[in-house]
Each structure stands twice: as structure tokens, then as C-alpha cells.
């Protein structure tokens, strides 16, 4: 087809779309809503996945392992969506006995227990009845990406055993300043000295990790001391450098023995737990994307309806065009250009709208949706394809009529 034909079709289509702009507005709205919801859902899913990756430091490393209560982590390919959802929340905890002796276990190094204690925290400005205290050690930094804004992390050489590192939000709330180094924080009746303040941490939505911005980090032993061994151990991070399989095996049997031969612990790689949460997120994203795709489909049907009406209105015009020599293909092309323009405009507005929603979500929640250029290209392609598919049905219908039949209708 020659370019002059294309240009004249394009001009005519713009003219027609402008003349029926009110009807077209509602059609475009359908595409806009459908497309922006698809983009937003994929973007939110991507954003959360990236945040998970970010918080689990170097999760691709195969040397890093984690001990978890068994019910949390069951990488069972047969498990369906519902049981996967149940697995998001922890339903058990490790025994403090599990931690004991791990440090000296052969082949295991850099053991970092991750325990949480909810107890009273008193600062100079305010206090919390049930604040979050994370009992851990200096190795936690190897597994989670935490960085210290001022001072140093716990258990550094020269630090007293009762040193504490606090999240930035909590520092501000407890002491009224961002860097209250050297101040005393009272945790469950025992004084701790603030040795460091964390940088703000991006939190993972739906994650079993607590909000580090509002937590106090203290030494694991100190945490067990002040709570008479009541700090729940959720995870134990560790590094196994050599003979991974045999070390993991012997460690597993060691843990089973401690727990009276009940195998209620599970050792996985660090990438395993991020894999699991990613898989859940993938499932969620897919499910919601499916719902959003349905709304996109409805938008497409809307375009088809408008094209049907538009063609019914212009049957006479089609007759005239055919009478003076337009081929069926040229007629179909004319209407395809029109519906492609409609859906393309809808796509553009949808993309702009999803950027606006993105901004709103970033400003008001901790989720950071990621709209990649691939996603944008994909979305625009989808919108044009929808326009072409749903536009072609009425266009073909219109073009197939005998010219005289089209001419007779007025």
C-alpha cells in the first residue's frame, strides 16, 4: 500500500475521531483503565521482588544458608496457591537450643541468629510498651543489607556487651534526634548504650522480617538474658564454605537430635527463602494480572462496539468509497487505522496514568513499583494489538458487503 493512501487514511481517521470525540472518550477510558491496571500490577510485583532481593544481601550466593522452622519453608512444587499463601506467615520458631553450639559446629562459620523479642523500650523522650528488639550478632550484616549511618554495628571489638544499634525512626522517637550516640536505652529493665544508628531501610511488604527502621538491635545473648531465654529465634543465618552437602546433613541430624528426633527445622540456602517469597509474589502477581487483563479485554470489546456503531453509521459512506474503486482491503485498512489510533491513544493515556499512580503509591506506601521501558513497550503493543484485533472484526464485516447493499442503506 502506498504511503499517500496511508496518510490520507490517517488524516481522515483523526478527523472522524475528533468528530465523534465524546463517544470515543468513553471507549478510550476502557482501554486506559485496563492498561494502567495491568501496568501497575506488574510494576508493583516487580518492585516488591526487587525489594526482597535488595534486603536479602547477596542472596544469590550459594555459601549462605539459613535454618528455619520447617513449616515456614516447604518448597513443594505440588503445593497449590492457597497453601503457599499460608506459608507466608511464620507458624513456628526455632529453639534457643538450636543456636547453642552452632558456632563451634564443624564447617559452619559466621553464624547469625535472628531472634525477635517484643518488650518494653524506654528512651529519654518516649517509651514503647511492646517495641521490637532484634537479638543477633555482628554477622547479620553478611546476610541482610543493613548499614550504619553513625557509630558502629553491635558486637564490634571494643564495644561493651550491652551496646545497641537502633533504627533511624526509632532513634528519633525515643530520643528526639537522629544520632543519639552514647545515650542509654532501657530494654526490659536493663540499660543498653546506643553505639550506632542504622541508615533508613527499605522494607519488604508481606515479609516476615520486621520493620528495621523501628527496631533495636542488641547482642543475641543479651537478648536471651534479659528475657530469660524468651526471644523467639525465627532464622539462623550461617555460611558453609566447603563440603556443603555433608555439613548440612550432619547439621540437620544434630538439630534433630537436640529436638528429640523431631525434624522440625529445615536448612536451605539464602536464595531459597527469597526464591520462596518471590514465587508467592509471582503467583499473586499472575492472579491479579489475570483480573486486570480481563478489564483490558473489556476495553477491547468497548472499542469493537464503537467501531461497529461507527461502521453502521457509515455504511453509506463505505458504499460510496467502494463505488468509486476502493478495494475491500483499503476499506478494512481505513477502519483499522481508526481503531488503532483509538487504542494507541488509550494506551498512551494509560501509561501516563500508571506513572501518576506509581508516584502516588511511592509517596503513600513503602511499596516502590518499577515501571520498566520493556513494560511500557509491551503495554503499548498490547493496546495496539487489541485495537487491531477488535477493530478488524467490524471492519471485515463492513468491507465484505456488496457495494450496492452499502449504498442502499442511508
Amino acid at each position: 500500500m502506498k504511503s499517500s493512501v496511508l496518510i490520507s487514511h490517517f488524516k481522515l481517521s483523526l478527523d472522524i475521531i475528533y468528530n465523534t470525540r465524546w463517544r470515543n472518550f468513553w471507549t478510550i477510558l476502557g482501554i486506559v483503565i485496563g492498561l494502567s491496571s495491568v501496568i501497575m500490577i506488574i510494576a508493583i510485583g516487580d518492585g516488591i521482588k526487587q525489594q526482597v532481593n535488595y534486603q536479602l544481601n547477596d542472596s544469590s550466593s550459594h555459601n549462605k544458608f539459613v535454618i528455619q522452622p520447617k513449616s515456614i519453608n516447604q518448597p513443594d512444587s505440588k503445593s497449590n496457591f492457597v497453601t503457599n499463601l499460608e506459608n507466608i506467615s511464620p507458624s513456628g520458631s526455632l529453639n534457643y537450643l538450636d543456636v547453642a553450639g552452632l558456632n563451634s559446629f564443624k564447617g559452619v562459620s559466621n553464624v547469625a541468629p535472628y531472634s525477635i523479642l517484643r518488650t518494653k523500650i524506654i528512651g529519654t523522650v518516649s517509651s514503647y510498651k511492646s517495641g521490637v528488639v532484634v537479638g543477633t550478632n555482628q554477622y547479620l550484616n553478611n546476610y541482610l543489607s543493613l548499614s550504619v549511618n553513625a557509630g558502629s554495628f553491635i558486637d564490634q571489638p571494643g564495644n561493651p556487651i550491652n551496646s545497641a544499634v537502633i533504627g533511624q525512626n526509632l532513634a528519633e522517637k525515643l530520643f528526639g534526634e537522629i544520632t543519639p550516640l552514647g545515650a542509654t536505652v532501657n530494654i526490659n529493665g536493663s540499660p543498653f548504650i546506643v553505639e550506632g544508628v542504622l541508615n533508613p531501610v527499605t522494607n519488604i511488604p508481606f515479609s516476615q522480617l520486621v520493620d528495621f527502621n523501628n527496631s533495636v538491635f542488641i547482642d543475641y545473648d543479651a537478648a536471651q538474658n534479659i528475657s530469660s531465654n524468651n526471644a523467639f529465634v525465627y532464622q539462623i543465618f550461617m555460611t558453609i564454605n566447603t563440603n556443603k552437602n555433608s555439613v548440612v546433613k550432619s547439621l540437620q541430624s544434630h538439630l534433630d537430635e537436640i529436638n528429640g528426633n523431631q525434624s522440625n527445622t529445615l536448612i536451605t540456602t539464602l536464595s531459597g527463602i527469597s526464591y520462596n517469597s518471590k514465587r508467592t509474589l509471582d503467583l499473586l502477581t499472575r492472579l491479579i494480572s489475570f483480573v486486570a487483563a480481563i478489564s483490558l479485554l473489556v476495553g477491547g470489546v468497548g472499542i469493537m462496539n464503537v467501531m461497529l456503531v461507527s461502521i453502521a453509521e457509515r455504511t453509506h459512506e463505505i458504499g460510496i468509497r467502494k463505488a468509486i474503486g476502493a478495494t475491500n482491503r483499503q476499506i478494512i485498512f481505513q477502519f483499522l487505522v481508526e481503531s488503532a489510533i483509538l487504542s494507541f491513544v488509550g494506551g498512551i493515556i494509560g501509561i501516563v496514568l500508571s506513572y501518576l499512580i506509581d508516584l502516588f503509591i511511592i509517596l503513600s506506601t513503602s511499596v516502590k513499583p518499577i515501571i520498566t521501558w520493556q513494560l511500557v513497550v509491551f503495554a503499548s503493543l498490547i493496546s495496539i494489538i487489541i485495537g487491531l484485533i477488535f477493530g478488524s472484526i467490524p471492519a471485515i464485516k463492513a468491507a465484505k458487503k456488496l457495494p450496492i447493499d452499502s449504498l442502499r442503506s442511508s
Partner: protein
């Protein structure tokens, strides 16, 4: 050599009990350069015949040879190309697109041929000049009179330089003065070498034709060759004594009469101008 050769063309509308025979095995030869008038009462099948000759419709039976090609059973796209390149169709109701201005309407067949925009405008300007409405190029159809619209429609039919022009009651919606102008225009085109077939109810217009075909109930009942400038013999029988008027007729609608006089004045002027310009040439 015959341009159009119809043999046993029939057209049936509807199905079963409700079917009706619009054309009853018509055979007709039209040579190149003929100026044929088709006459007949309403429902005699004139328009159906025109639509089949113009490839807007397909015959139910029979063979149709246009310019040495069998065209009765063509695929839609091939038919479209012949409509575009060989046939110019003029309708009673003009059938111009109201969305487009006159020059774009006239150049529309060239769009489908793939002619460039500047060349389209050039050709359309030339042809509009030929039909005498070049000053209305950028007007929209709703701003023009019936005669001007029909002139534009003829210009559109001419733009691809077709061998055959089919006019289905081209003067049906026009007053007598405009009718005459349009017929003059068609005569001029005929003189330039085109074959023209037109349908009319008005026996007066057989003056312009070289041959008159009469139809009734889907058949051709008479076919006579008539000298140019004379009303055909059979058509004369149909001619009503329209010149006889009562006094009341003369009094009715004086304002309309005034307008008509006005228009006649103008058109006679333009005719004189045309004639004088022709002489100059």
C-alpha cells in the same frame, strides 16, 4: 466494437416465495462512443441494470463482457479496480462525502489508486475547471446547490479518465435549468470520446442521447437510435403537455418564479461566456 456486451443477464431479489425478477435475461450491446438513454417506469429494472453494468451488483445469471473482459463473476477486489479505472458512476443523490470538501471528494478515486497528494490536487483542479465549478474547490457539499453538487460528482467520475460513464438519473433531483446544464456537461464529455449511459424519466432529455432503450418489468421492450437534438419518437408519447398552464399555476409562488428567472439570467450569462470563450479558442 462493443464496449459492453450483456448476454442473458438476470437478477433475482429475495428468496423463495418472496423472490422477484428484477431483470429477465437481458441482452444488450453498447458500442464505444454511444450516448445511451435508458427509460422506463419505476420498478422496470433500470437502476438494477445500471448497478450490474457499473459492477456495483452481481447478476444472478448471464454473462457480461466489459472492454473485452468477462466481469460478471469477478472477485471483489478485481471488481473494485475496474470500477476505479474503467467506470465512472454518477448517482441521482450525488453521493459526495459531506466530511470532505469538494476537491478532496473529487480526488478520492485517486487516493485509492495511490496517486500522490500534490498530483491529486492538480488533477482535481483541472477536472473541476472542466465541469465549471473551479471556484468551489474548498467548499463543503452542504454549501453547494444541487447542480453544483452533480457537477462535482461528474468531476469525480471523470477523474480517472474512465471509458464508461454511468449516470443513474443524474438530473432526478435537479430543476430543469440545472438539468440542462448537467446534460450539456455530459454531452461535452461524450464529445470528448466517452461512452455514456444514463437513466432518465424525463423524455425531454432524450434529445441528448444517440440511442434510447426502453425497459418494462425487467425486459428491454424497445431500442431505438435517435438523432442528436431530437426527442425520441417513443419518448414523445410519454411527454406530458407540461407547457400548458392555468392562470392559477402562473400566480402560485411568484417568489419562486422570480428566483427561477434570476437563475436563468445568470446561467444564460455563463453560457454566453462559455460560448464566447470557446470561440476565442
Amino acid at each position: 466494437m462493443s464496449l459492453i456486451k450483456l448476454e442473458g443477464i438476470s437478477k433475482i431479489f429475495g428468496f423463495g416465495d418472496a423472490s422477484s425478477l428484477a431483470l429477465d435475461s437481458i441482452s444488450l450491446n453498447i458500442d464505444k462512443g454511444e450516448f445511451v438513454a435508458v427509460m422506463g417506469p419505476s420498478g422496470s429494472g433500470k437502476s438494477t441494470l445500471m448497478n450490474i453494468i457499473g459492477l456495483l451488483d452481481k447478476p444472478s445469471q448471464g454473462s457480461y463482457m466489459l472492454d473485452n473482459k468477462y466481469v460478471a463473476r469477478l472477485k471483489p477486489n478485481q471488481a473494485a479496480k475496474i470500477r476505479r479505472d474503467t467506470i465512472g458512476f454518477v448517482f441521482q443523490s450525488y453521493n459526495l462525502l459531506n466530511r470532505l470538501n469538494i476537491i478532496n471528494n473529487v480526488s478520492l478515486p485517486l487516493v485509492y489508486k495511490g496517486v500522490s497528494s500534490s498530483r491529486r490536487l492538480k488533477l482535481a483542479t483541472e477536472i473541476l475547471d472542466r465541469v465549471g465549478i473551479s471556484e468551489k474547490e474548498y467548499f463543503y457539499p452542504n454549501q453547494l446547490s444541487g447542480g453544483q453538487l452533480q457537477s462535482a460528482a461528474i468531476a469525480r467520475a471523470l477523474i480517472n479518465n474512465p471509458k464508461l460513464i454511468i449516470a443513474d438519473e443524474p438530473t432526478g433531483n435537479l430543476d430543469s435549468v440545472s438539468s440542462m446544464l448537467i446534460m450539456e456537461l455530459l454531452t461535452e464529455i461524450h464529445r470528448a470520446g466517452n461512452t455514456i449511459i444514463f437513466v432518465t424519466h424525463n423524455p425531454e432529455l432524450t434529445r441528448y442521447a444517440s440511442r434510447v432503450v426502453y425497459m418494462k418489468d425487467g425486459s428491454i421492450v424497445q431500442d431505438e437510435v435517435t438523432p442528436y437534438g431530437q426527442i425520441a419518437k417513443t419518448a414523445k408519447l410519454l411527454l406530458r403537455p407540461s407547457l400548458m398552464k392555468s392562470d392559477e399555476d402562473n400566480l402560485a409562488g411568484v417568489s419562486v418564479l422570480m428566483k427561477t428567472i434570476d437563475r436563468i439570467d445568470k446561467t444564460s450569462k455563463t453560457k454566453k461566456q462559455k460560448k464566447s470563450s470557446r470561440r476565442k479558442k
